[in-house]
Symmetry: D4
Subunit: 225 residues, 8 copies
């Protein structure tokens, strides 16, 4: 796996047969594969073609394969604005977890009711993450808000949750790109894989040196390949 | 003036001579005219053509003519996100004032530093406005935030302050249109006139009945024409 | 309910199970919930999960729960341009009614046959509303026309009724945003909830003082929260 | 001249020298040439290069050459929504006049104040035109309105008069394209030449047969080339 | 029927029940109704609800009702670029026929093989139409070509036939709007109703006077309403 | 020079000093450099900084350096739709000439007057080119037409000549991309460099083998690097 | 078949019956027809209507008819970035093969792992093609890379493989159009037919002269028609 | 300074007087201010208003104020695709340096000539950065390439360098957003400030723990504020 990033199979545009075959082939060389954006039919065929392989649901993704990655010590805090942003956020979380990162998740935080942000912020401060992901659709303002309140990099994950003009994620991603809060970078609409991988690389870079300090242990996936 | 809305001359697309001539003609039938979006050359010619008429600066607008409108008792609170949003906000304020509304203004409030919102919110609560205008560019999130904190209608006024993709006001207006905070309506990018007129109509409708209560006085511009 | 606005559940992007569960949870703390944009499957599951709760149809929304809100005395006039705009307009009306506002509705008014506007305008004048909502698709000109004929604020509600270039509501919302009639503000395409909540806040602000005059009664949802 | 349409030189994108040279060359084979969209520099050079040729102003166009076309008996009514739409409308009128059509023009009609439409409509009915051009910017609703009130074809001429989102003529042309009034066709934004030529072809086709009735005279530019 | 234009029911966005009910109501006051853009389900319900009323297929439209309109003497030539443009062209033809116009149709003309245009052009010249409709998708160049070869007005009817970037009709309509051939005006993508009505109004205006010449008969739908 | 393509300096976005310095540096290793899109100031500084180097005008490009490339025997026919397309076409021609290709050019061919295409087509057939470039703005239909009439590859070169909606070259490039004439490929708007290089590579591949046949000579720039 | 290009039937927008009928008609005058973009239903009906005619699958196309075209000696190398780009690439290959060109195909090359490009490049060099097609979705960078490494023309074939903003092929085609690698031209998104025909015309022009050298044989489809 | 990010004054949209005044005010509380996007006039007035304050050029930014920030030990590698991307890249570098990060820069790397990437990659590996910024315009492919070759997070910085369709930075940003290389996140077009701040936060988080290991020193700007 390049850079410690797990193998990803983008399901849309592939037939269920292709997805199942690619998964089977990949599982000969790696323990787990992430299938991104599968339809029900994709999922059915993967399960049928690989009857002995555990398949876990991770929002709009599937984790195909047994076991767990070795923890790196990296820490990620993942925030979802609303219920509808959850499937995309879970995909990001699954990718980061595959990269050995410890993840804490909160959701239904909203932006119109700022008081709801208070609890999560306290939990966030206690957790002391190396990076934060904020998934949001509609006007996409939550990542800007969060980025103004924490001192670590924030990855904005716009979702295609919205309505009317700009409701396909355009308003959300434009809002994040316009953000006047430095320290916020973004990935494409609904790109949970990209958000999770970026955040995990950030967290694992910090963990590499934190580990040295604490245990002189081996850090995975860091350095220049 | 229709609905109590002052006469407006949109300067862009007109020659300076046309603007000056239209102002002169209108001032025969009304006390003051608002020139929206004048260039320096527009302003120079208006002043020259009307040497005895006072011309006041109001951001991206000019108020041409002497005197003050009679107060209606309507109350408007006007918030600007940043320094660059001020010219558009001032135009909105000028239009509302011409409609007899009392206006309190604050600015440089921002969205990335929420603590800066505290002072203005207290002032707002003490003033008890009938309506709030929030002007913001870039990601345009401030109107959503404010709308979540007050119980009166909020008019979102997006500005063409921004950069890169969506920086011509597109991100700001899309963000406001996506807003998940009910009670927020919007006008077009940089449309200070529209925001001011809408807010004043809202405020004057409330003032019409508040006045009855307090003084049985005459309310201007209310009712159905 | 914030600002007197009823609890809204946006159905699109949520599973029927999620919608039903959220409704059930909310109904423990409030009398009625509005489900916006449910599919047939959403509706079926809500009815099945809540067999004893009345579910009323309100165009593209459902009102879930028994009883009626207390009237505030606010008055809204709601106009639909064509038959196809009705579902969105009805959603707006349902939200305003939940906020205690009295609503009168007319529809099939059109813009190409101006004579058809005469009857509704007379009814409107007799009703003396605090605010007017005008829902229109296609070229979206009706709100501009109405705004030029009444002296209260108009909320433009563009719908995704149209065809060809701009027919997804883009032409309608751009037309309303360009409107040269001050006093018109807009919400996003098909955003009946936003239009209803904005109009109700405007009407309830006026009703607050009208009530004082007439009865010294308590006005709901007004003032700064 | 093809189809009776006068020779047109589009000035933008050509150097002043090219425009002057093309005019001179064309005037050897035709009496008059229309220069569309000239800058001040274009105009200066044309006048200098052709010192003995009369040059008339026609809004955003110039009519270069002496004399008048022979009247065909065709009749066109031309309406402009606002002062800023005049230059484009005048170009359309100049083209139609060059095609022998009699033109009556009115302007500053607006759409937000419908009463202002009454006078022009009476004049229009008395004139009994074969075709109507309506030029409008901003939300571009006037052509739809007029088309609903007259029984002859209407050519919508959108102009780049506007502001904010859609203000470059996009809202105007989309509005006209969405129009629910059958009988309205459109040309591109600011395309006065196209509107004038289309309207004149329509008028001259009718005049061809009207002339037969009245005088058995020769009709120009009609029939299939 | 306004301006001689038949009653049109736009089916998309209406339920089959609404469409059937509106047809039934309209048929009490007029002989025939055109249903534009019906789905199979729309058509089924209309036929079921009106078992004794003849329903004729007209491409993407249905003509509901018995009989034929009285001929006006107007003449229209209708050209389709390819097979896929036919349903939209047939709708335009149906509308024009309902307005009493005689229509000749040709199709599969193409633009990449100009020789295929020769036969239709000869037929067109022999027919001597008052107006030409050209329906085309993809790059939409055929109307421009035809307009350069005939001396009567051409109505461009862009269709949503295409692929990739601009393939939803955007390329076709932009191409027609950019056309450098004066005398071409356009309607929106797939707007067969608009094209047919515009062309018929043009043809009937000419027929009004041609009839006078030939027979002193009464021309329908002409003059100012 | 890579693939036989000459060195190109894109001037826009560079200071005149940078352009002059890069030219000077490149001329140490190559005989000629093409400067694409220089402003007057760019050109002035290049001439001043390189007083002994000949600078030839090539439409929107400059050819900086002495001498001529060795002819390859490749043949290109270059067609421009209108006068305003010439600067871009000339840039394409200059690039192809630098790659050793013999070029014949025609222009002012138009699309609305097909008869004007006859002469050029005869010349084209006599010349028997290996490739054709067609530059066109506005509706961009000429490349499609030409591609339907010749049996060699056609490179469509859209230009930013146009007006109103799509007039920045968008309509032209979309039209070419939608083209139903197989054998037409395109480059970006105003990208004369790309069109010239593509056409020259095509011509030089054919010339490589033609030369073998005729003279067993060395063909430049062909084969796989 | 024009220019040696096979007959193509674009299935989308046609009924299955129309497609089957057109195929049957064409097969009377030609040996094979390519059906582009058929649905399952299209394919079923074609097979049923033509029970004795072989139908071969070619990605998103079908080759209907028996036999093989005569080889011209032209050589094409076809590269696909990912598995999902294959159906479009196969259509291009089928069209080129029908034009007599020998095609070698490679795929799953990617751009993020440059080492994977090494093998294909060596194969490409050994094959010495006259032209290269590169199909890619998402960010569409592979054609630029390949074009920088080979000395023959490259046809970029963008596909609608992608996600979020620009994921419908817009990012891919824009990227190819922006390419700073001269010698790359493009066709529209998913336009396998256009890419195949363009590449085959290029290859056959070279083959025409290569054949002369080697065998004095007759080359098909070359020269000016 | 929030999060260790220096004070930034966005100059566009502010008058030179405002910029100078804000700088003066800020310099009372901080040592240095970065002015982003100043015009020549902005720069002149800042220098004049602050005659004793050193002003350093940093591409499209200015660093106003004396002294240097304390180094944090964070390491950033900054890559520019072409000469024209330098001003934006330098702004990013200035911001990162103000946050205490050590920066190594390379440029003119390109994507069409992959060999040019070799040298920088070796330097990069030796430097062992915590984060990489890649600035690129046009098709914006370089960040994807680099991200596939290094094991640390990459921040893509699209620039408005380009031409024709998508040349305002749209193609570049869409390409980066579509990137199939996980670990790449982006900021808005020309947003050097955002890229620099994000990269510095990433680097400083790693440095915080690396410092602990090596020296138990104090790390600035890390942790949760
Ligand atoms: N602290 C801030 N938070 C959010 N937005 C801001 C902030 N400061 C400025 N803006 C926005 O950034 C733009 C420029 O602000 P300024 O530099 O103050 O003129 C304005 O349109 C504001 O909406
Ligand atoms: N009273 C009006 N009603 C509607 N549109 C108007 C009105 N006045 C001006 N316009 C539009 O507003 C734009 C500017 O008008 P004017 O200020 O008169 O040049 C024009 O494009 C008109 O289409
Ligand atoms: N390794 C890769 N590098 C670059 N692009 C790729 C790569 N793999 C796939 N793609 C692109 O990603 C899309 C999906 O690829 P695939 O998952 O292989 O079907 C295709 O359009 C390819 O252009
Ligand atoms: N060799 C190259 N490969 C790829 N992109 C390049 C190359 N040279 C320049 N660019 C891009 O082209 C634009 C102009 O480059 P330059 O002419 O060096 O300023 C920049 O935005 C670069 O991203
Ligand atoms: Mg799932
Ligand atoms: Mg001012
Ligand atoms: Mg319902
Ligand atoms: Mg003039
Ligand atoms: Mg049918
Ligand atoms: Mg030049
Ligand atoms: Mg297949
Ligand atoms: Mg500088």
């Amino acid at each position: 796996a390049r850079k410690g990033v797990p193998e990803i199979v983008y399901a849309p545009g592939k037939t269920p047969e292709q997805v199942a075959r690619i998964c089977a082939a990949m599982l000969e060389g790696t323990e787990r594969v992430i299938v991104s954006g599968p339809s029900g039919e994709h999922e059915r065929l993967v399960r049928q073609a690989l009857p002995d392989v555990p398949v876990r649901d991770a929002g709009r993704a599937l984790v195909v394969g047994a076991g767990e990655p070795a923890p790196t010590g990296g820490r990620l805090y993942a925030i979802g604005a609303g219920t509808s942003d959850l499937p995309v956020l879970e995909e990001a979380v699954a990718v980061a977890r595959e990269m050995g990162v410890a993840v804490k998740t909160t959701h239904d935080v909203g932006v119109a009711g700022l008081h709801r942000l208070r609890g999560p912020l306290e939990e966030l401060r206690a957790f002391d993450p190396d990076c934060v992901i904020v998934a949001a659709g509609m006007e996409g303002a939550l990542p800007t808000l969060v980025s103004g309140l924490v001192a670590v990099p924030v990855v904005g994950l716009p979702t295609s949750v919205g309505y009317g003009l700009g409701g396909d994620g355009t308003a959300a991603i434009l809002g994040m790109l316009q953000s006047c809060s430095p320290g916020l970078s973004v990935v494409n609409v609904d790109n949970g894989v990209g958000a999770g991988a970026t955040a995990a690389l950030i967290a694992n870079r910090a963990a590499l040196y934190r580990n040295d300090t604490e245990s002189n242990g081996q850090a995975p996936g860091a350095g220049v390949s």
